[in-house]
Amino acid sequence: VKIDSSQLYGLAESAYILQIHKELGSPGTAALQGLLRVVQSVHRAIAVERLSAGLLVGYALDPDAKLIDSQPARLTSLENLTSLHDGVSPLAVQVGRDGDIAVWLGAHDFYRENFLSYEYRSPHNEVILSPLSEMAVPILSGFPSFYAVPYFRDLEDALEHYGVTCVRFSQCLHLAAAWRNPGRLVFLPRPEHKMRDSLVQFLRLSLRDFGGVEAMPEQNVNATRPVDVKVSWIDSNRVALVEIKWLGASAADGESRFKQRYFVGRAREGAEQLADYLDLYHREAPNQEARGYLAIFDGRRAGLRFDSEGLKVRDADYFRSAEISYDDELLKRPDFAPPIRLYFDAATA
């Protein structure tokens, strides 16, 4: 297959790292690596959810660049930001070439001429600022910040984190688009595709161990029985089969009735289906160590009508802690991971 060099060229031209190189040369590229290292450290120290008032990070472009001396807190380690940040104020961090760290809580503007900066403004809205220009950072739909992607070696840990950070408040762009209304009461028809795409993307970006962890959509166990997601590890014979089921109601825009409503029985059907998939897979691929995962995307609401615009808090939250019981025989299977319920909170007014 011949390479499409125009695609590569276009990709390079549109990337902020080449723009910085063109503007600032090799010192700019070196400063960018320093800046991104600091940005990742800040994101490790503070969860993105605590940065809703914004984050500005400046990295000195030359050794003479002076940090702004307007009563900052001085830190020796970025890890200390965890306790320093109040989670409410805008946060500004400036790092000198000698490693000096200055921190301000509250709105702050840097002089741009001697610094390369990064700004987190809101989920999916980040920029790199050079002395002359502002460059957009690419968007990862499942993650509010490009530089705050958590990494996992264990699939169950990844699924648990996915539930808390992506599903609960539908922060992933795929999941946000799965709802018919902003209140997150009723799905649009066939939300399973968006759920699958969201999960696949999350796993592709956060599951570690080489490129060998593949999250592939709609792998076939055989020609007629698809499983939603298959994760394989290239350096071992382990395979994870992930079956997705959603609970709640769906309706098309403008329709005056629900298209589908799924309750707890749907989750149990999914468990039976997954067990069947596993049996089939073990027969067809006996040399692979397959394990099944049932992911239940739970958007159930109590007291819901197709035209509900809002619900009482008690109804909206009714199923938040409503865990689902399954057939004990299934749960005892060594190849059957404990099902995971990924609960969607309704939006509050």
Binding site: K2, S5, A12, I17, L18, T29, G211
Partner: protein
């Protein structure tokens, strides 16, 4: 000084004797563990191999002969890339207490840090340091797992994985397709630019190709009745 000259003569044994069979593999594995720890909390076996493989590719992009890399890479039926030298280096670094395994992967011990700093100071490894740094620093601009999957889309590795057979990777000078990638990359990034720029550009391109292939596969599935 005495340590340096003994290693450069190929006889130094700062680590157990079998580790030093391939000093380049020892240096590379420690350097990758050190470089990935701030980003990922450590490095796994497959990440060590993967980032060393990417480093070797960057050396080839910089017109270095693959034969000078110091050790080779293979595709096996189940793993690609694989390097026995790296595998041995990691095993022995563990045994000799230079690295320990944590939940997030291998990290350097204080003795390992000393060893890595010492090896880094040697002229012998000066050139390859820039390739390893560029490969590992790519995770500053691209999520680590995406770097991993992108490298598997490199033409030689992609072909090897498709064939699922045991074979050496990169060969004498790499495949024709690989050199076409390098030619296009040379045009896309300015001369004398930091290798980090070339690494991130190429990885982003390979990742975009994977993305395009998976979208196309999804569309085919969606079209099915």
């Amino acid at each position: 000084l005495r340590r340096t000259s003994r290693l450069e003569a190929g006889t130094r044994r700062a680590v157990p004797s079998d580790v030093a069979e391939c000093p380049e593999a020892v240096y590379d594995s420690l350097a990758v563990v050190e470089a990935l720890t701030p980003t990922a909390g450590g490095a796994t076996d497959s990440e060590i191999t993967l980032f060393c493989y990417l480093s070797c590719l960057l050396a080839m992009f910089s017109n270095q002969p693959v034969a000078a890399w110091g050790y080779g890479f293979f595709a096996t039926k189940s793993i690609a890339p694989f390097s026995e030298s790296l595998s041995n280096a990691v095993t022995d670094a563990l045994r000799s207490g230079l690295i320990i395994e944590r939940a997030a992967g291998y990290v350097l011990t204080s003795r390992g840090e000393e060893e890595a700093a010492f090896l880094s100071s040697l002229e012998r490894f000066a050139r390859r340091r820039q390739y390893i740094t560029a490969a590992c620093n790519s995770t500053l601009a691209v999520p680590l797992p995406r770097v991993g999957s992108a490298v598997t889309a490199e033409p030689g590795l992609r072909q090897a994985l498709a064939l699922s057979s045991t074979r050496p990777l990169l060969g004498e000078s790499g495949s024709q397709a690989l050199h076409e990638h390098f030619d296009a990359l040379s045009e896309a990034v300015p001369d004398h630019a930091d290798l980090f720029l070339a690494a991130v550009t190429w990885i982003s391109f390979l990742a975009a190709q994977i993305e395009a292939r998976s979208v196309s596969a999804d569309l085919e599935i969606s079209d099915q009745p």
